[in-house]
Amino acid sequence: MKGLEGKSAQIGAVVLLGLVLFNPPLVQVFNAGAARMVGGIPLLFFYLFFAWGVLIGLLAYVIERRPQGGGERPAVPRKENRGKTD
């Protein structure tokens, strides 16, 4: 249950990050017109799609990651092995 609450908090944080990334003050920072290109793509376009991609990546990471308890998994087969040698 605690893991789920942690996940909800993390998703909340991602939403807030998205609100900041996609809105004027920060978008204005990358508003360089045709003056600056990243790999041939105007900085503004690159920034928006990059930020978007990062946000989706973060979402996927937060949601798909196993909630706590994932760390305990390796311990199980080790015990089994020991059981066999005995």
Partner: protein, 916 residues
């Protein structure tokens, strides 16, 4: 190269393929191997969000205002992240309550209100009308453009073609036919439109690939990669401008918010994301998969836009058609065809889902409630209503598409795709306060929602729909330029002088202000009814309720299982109803045949079954019609209100307990008071007894000391002193005997010597015993005794004691010489009353009862020094009461006193007879 028949044939072929997928999907679903039971299909089906607007319109928007197309997709990304909380809640609620549409959701939340459901339906139909017209426009335009292959034309001036020559009209009819095929093959309460969802997911894949193909083609075939494309564009000053944020204009934030709302509130999004959802768990993946889809389909919008702008300079080609025009200009007929199919996918998906969603609403929330009311009797006679409902839904689909066509034909033709779509977004946004308020705020009420929705909708009509009519020549243009009735502050694009905003932001501001304002204000002032309160709690606290069955026992009263089954059959058809009931019986392990009366759970089940087919409000009305007896009492409703009721129940119990505690406390206090009193009495008793003992003891001791110290005392004196000592010792003995007697009587250990007693004799003996004391003080003692007195069953010695006590009391309180005491005896049929009167000082009324208590001496005796022990009357009362009689006094202060006691004859008489 691309003749019309080929385009038509390909289009029909594609639509038939879609139908085949849908058919297969339905078949698999019936076999229990669902095609759509995975999160990927779910995410793809939600991508019905990307319509012609996205496919053609985004490029057009980008070509005129750069990055401005993007917030429409960034918003849903944020909302889907939030969907982890919000959508999950809506999903759960909808599953629990078998919600069939957004109108059903809202009406259900606010007390299953018909009015609200109808209002939402009207807003949805009118509001979505422009959106559907957008799709018709896109399909017909793209068809016309493709038809002219390889010549790239600008398909402007389509507005005034005759009806039968208008492509869009046929598009509307064909789409209506397919929507009917996909969405209304049967009335379905338990399953989803699985086939339709599968087809939509497929379409999402097709439109994504088609768009990406055109994008890659534009960047790498027409130009030499993205860098080359943007470099060439940067060289053109006008295109340079499009690379800035300023090109997007000032409504960035508005669009972001609007699209966040739209992704939930658009009827088709609600249909796909909520109604058609098979498993709540799929949401987890969709939360990031759907935004990923949006990212992919938008990735190449800018390259296509810039490629189009560079390829067709001077604006001779409508930017909304670049996706088609680019492959055509480069002579790639198959790519153009593929692009057309992609656009067709986007449009058909939207139209099918939207019309199915809307037709469900029109049927369940608008027409059925009216039919149930107006033609109720005739409706009740129909055996199978499912066909009627299918007919209504099919009719609704045709009606909605024709409405969309009319809007397109007369108004939408001259607008860009995105501009048309945004009008619909603004309409759908009106649902947001009622929905979000409804799932997080229990205080939102039906009247609040109705007020908010109506006001918001009216403002929307005034600021967006009417101006569009005016600009299309359907109303005087003055309306927009000068304001209604020539009043400047009523100008629809600058209401109350609010200028400097784009039309959408302006409309959204005013409509939301009034919508939210009215919703909150009216709700706060409102007192919701019981059903509203139940529904509010069930919605807001959906996660706190036990999974599965929602608030059972909403129904009371009786309905037979057969009645319920017949009713459900009428709406669902015989076979489906039968299956549903068998399934229910199996799941609950009961035999419905042996259950003549339906219990609350079964009624609830039937209601939800119906709700799936005809909406919550109508279902409730239908169930109410077969239930005999009322729904539920207020008390029961309060019980259902899970938490609230528990709290109330607890507080009620607490109140009861505290009341009981108060009572107990009061009793304890009283008991405590009594104890204190008794304790005090005991103390008084002890001190009195000690005092009474000390007085004679003191005189005995002092006279003994005198005798001891003065051996030469005169005999006369000595005799006198010794007499005092003897008398005081007697008094001491008497006192101790009295205390012992009293204790014995009180403890019930008195040894009563019962026998027949002649009261005359008792009195004579008592007088004889005391006569010398009367003589000593010269008090006249007279007696008035009848000749014969019936005997009583009693203890002679104790009765004698009583008479002696009363006589000596009388003697004590009389003045010497003038004192008069009289004893009298009267035999009544039931008892014998003995009275002893004196002419002493009398007893005050307040003392007349207490003198019978222990040690209550009336202290204002003539001597001021009480001579009695204070026990005599107490003992007398105990004795008399023991024999079933009573003792009392009648007296006026200063006029003497009459002490009387009665002894019943009845108890003694039979004995006397027996002895005789």
């Amino acid at each position: 190269m691309l003749p019309g028949w080929l385009i038509l044939a390909t289009s029909f072929g594609y639509l038939c393929l879609l139908f085949a997928i849908a058919y297969y999907g339905d078949k698999r679903a019936d076999e229990g191997h669902s095609l759509i039971a995975n999160p990927y299909t779910y995410a793809l089906s939600i991508a019905v969000y990307c319509t012609s607007w996205t496919f053609y319109g985004s490029v057009g928007r980008a070509a005129s205002s750069g990055i401005d197309f993007l917030p429409i997709y960034l918003g849903p990304t944020l909302m889907f992240a939030l969907g982890w909380f919000v959508l999950r809640k809506i999903l759960r609620i909808s599953k629990v309550h078998r919600i069939t549409s957004i109108a059903d959701f809202i009406s259900s939340r606010y007390g299953k209100s018909h009015l609200l459901g109808g209002l939402v339906t009207v807003i949805a139909v009118v509001g979505i009308m422009p959106y559907i017209s957008l799709q018709l426009k896109a399909v017909s335009t793209s068809f016309d453009v493709l038809l002219h292959y390889p010549e790239v034309t600008s398909p402007r001036e389509l507005s005034y073609v005759p009806l039968l020559g208008d492509t869009a009209f046929y598009v509307a009819l064909v789409l209506a036919a397919f929507a009917i095929l996909f969405g209304t093959r049967h009335i379905d309460a338990t399953e989803h439109h699985e086939g339709m969802v599968a087809a939509i997911a497929f379409e999402s894949v097709v439109k994504l690939i088609a768009f990406l193909a055109v994008g890659v083609f534009a960047a790498y075939t027409v130009f030499d990669g993205f860098a080359d494309l943007f470099a060439q564009a940067a060289a053109v000053p006008e295109l340079q401008r499009l690379m800035t944020f300023e090109a997007a204009g000032g409504n960035w934030v508005t669009l972001l918010l609007l699209s966040m709302i739209a992704i939930i509130c658009l009827p088709r999004q609600f249909q796909m994301a909520v109604i058609e959802n098979v498993d709540e768990k799929y949401l987890n993946k969709a939360v990031w998969l759907f935004p990923l889809y949006l990212l992919l389909i938008n990735l190449l919008v800018l390259p296509i836009a810039f490629a189009g702008l560079l390829t067709f300079p001077g604006g001779q080609v409508d930017a909304d058609t670049y996706v088609l025009a680019l492959p055509m200009a480069e002579h790639r007929p198959w790519l153009a065809m593929f692009a057309f199919i992609g656009g067709l996918s986007a449009a058909t998906a939207m139209v099918i889902v939207e019309t199915v969603a809307l037709s469900t609403m029109v049927c369940n929330d608008l027409i059925v409630p009216v039919l149930l009311r107006v033609a109720w009797l005739r409706l009740a006679d129909r055996k199978d209503l499912s066909r009627l409902f299918l007919g209504i839904r099919r009719g609704a689909i045709v009606f909605i598409l024709l409405l969309g066509y009319i809007y397109f034909h007369f108004i939408g033709g001259s607008y860009a795709l995105v501009t048309i779509g945004l009008v619909s977004f603004a309409a759908a946004a009106q649902f947001a306060p009622a929905i979000f308020g409804g799932i997080y705020w229990k205080g939102g009420t039906r009247r609040g929602a109705i007020a908010g929705l109506s006001l918001g909708f009216l403002v929307w009509i005034y600021t967006l729909l009417l101006p569009a009519f005016a600009l299309s020549g359907w109303m005087p243009v003055d309306f927009t330029t000068a304001g209604a009735f020539g009043l400047t502050f009523l100008k629809p694009y600058a209401l109350f002088g609010l200028e400097g905003m784009d039309h959408i932001s302006h409309s959204l501001f005013w409509s939301m202000l009034l919508n939210v304002g009215a919703y909150v204000t009216v709700s706060l002032m409102d007192r919701p009814g019981p059903t509203e309160r139940i529904q509010a709690t069930l919605f807001v606290e959906v996660f706190r309720q036990a999974a599965g069955e929602p608030g059972t026992r909403l129904w009371r009263g009786s309905a037979t299982v057969e009645d319920l089954r017949t009713m459900v059959e009428r709406f669902l058809g015989r076979q489906r109803a039968e299956n549903a009931f068998i399934e229910y019986a199996r799941r609950h392990r009961i035999d419905l045949k042996k259950m003549p009366e339906a219990d609350g759970d079964l009624v609830q089940f039937a209601e939800r079954l119906l709700a799936g087919a005809i909406g919550a409000a109508s279902a409730r009305a239908m169930v109410a019609s077969v239930i005999k007896g009322e729904g539920v009492s207020l008390d029961e409703i309060m019980q259902i209100l899970d938490e609230t009721s528990q709290v109330l129940e607890y507080s009620r119990q607490l109140e009861q307990k505290s009341k009981a505690l108060e009572n107990a406390t009061a009793e304890l206090q009283a008991a405590n008071e009594r104890l204190k009193e008794l304790d005090q009495l005991k103390d008084e008793f002890l001190s009195t007894v000690t005092h009474e003992l000390r007085t004679p003891l003191t005189s005995v001791r002092s006279f003994s000391e005198i005798l001891y110290d003065t051996p030469d005392l005169k005999t006369e004196e000595r005799q006198k002193f010794l007499a005092i000592i003897i008398r005081e010792s007697e008094r001491l003995t008497r006192l101790i005997n009295q205390v012992l007697d009293l204790t014995k009587i009180e403890a019930g250990r008195m040894d009563w010597q019962m026998g027949e007693v002649d009261l005359n004799a008792v009195i004579e003996d008592a007088i004889a015993t005391l006569s010398h004391r009367f003589q000593e003080r010269s008090i006249a003692l007279t007696k008035e005794l009848p000749d014969h007195v019936p005997p009583v069953m009693s203890d002679r010695d104790q009765l004698m004691q009583v008479v002696i006590n009363l006589l000596s009391n009388a003697e004590k309180f009389c003045r010497p010489k003038s004192g008069k005491v009289m004893v009298s005896l009267k035999a009544a049929p039931d008892d014998i009353v003995v009275s002893i009167s004196d002419n002493g000082p009398g007893i005050a009324a307040k003392d007349q009862e207490v003198i019978f208590e222990k040690f209550h001496q009336v202290s204002d005796g003539t001597t001021g020094n009480p001579t009695g022990s204070g026990l005599g009357l107490a003992i007398s009362r105990k004795i008399v009461e023991h024999f079933g009689g009573r003792i009392w006094v009648a007296s006026d202060l200063g006029k003497g006193a009459v002490f009387s006691f009665s002894i019943p004859i009845r108890a003694a008489a039979p004995r006397a007879v027996g002895h005789a």
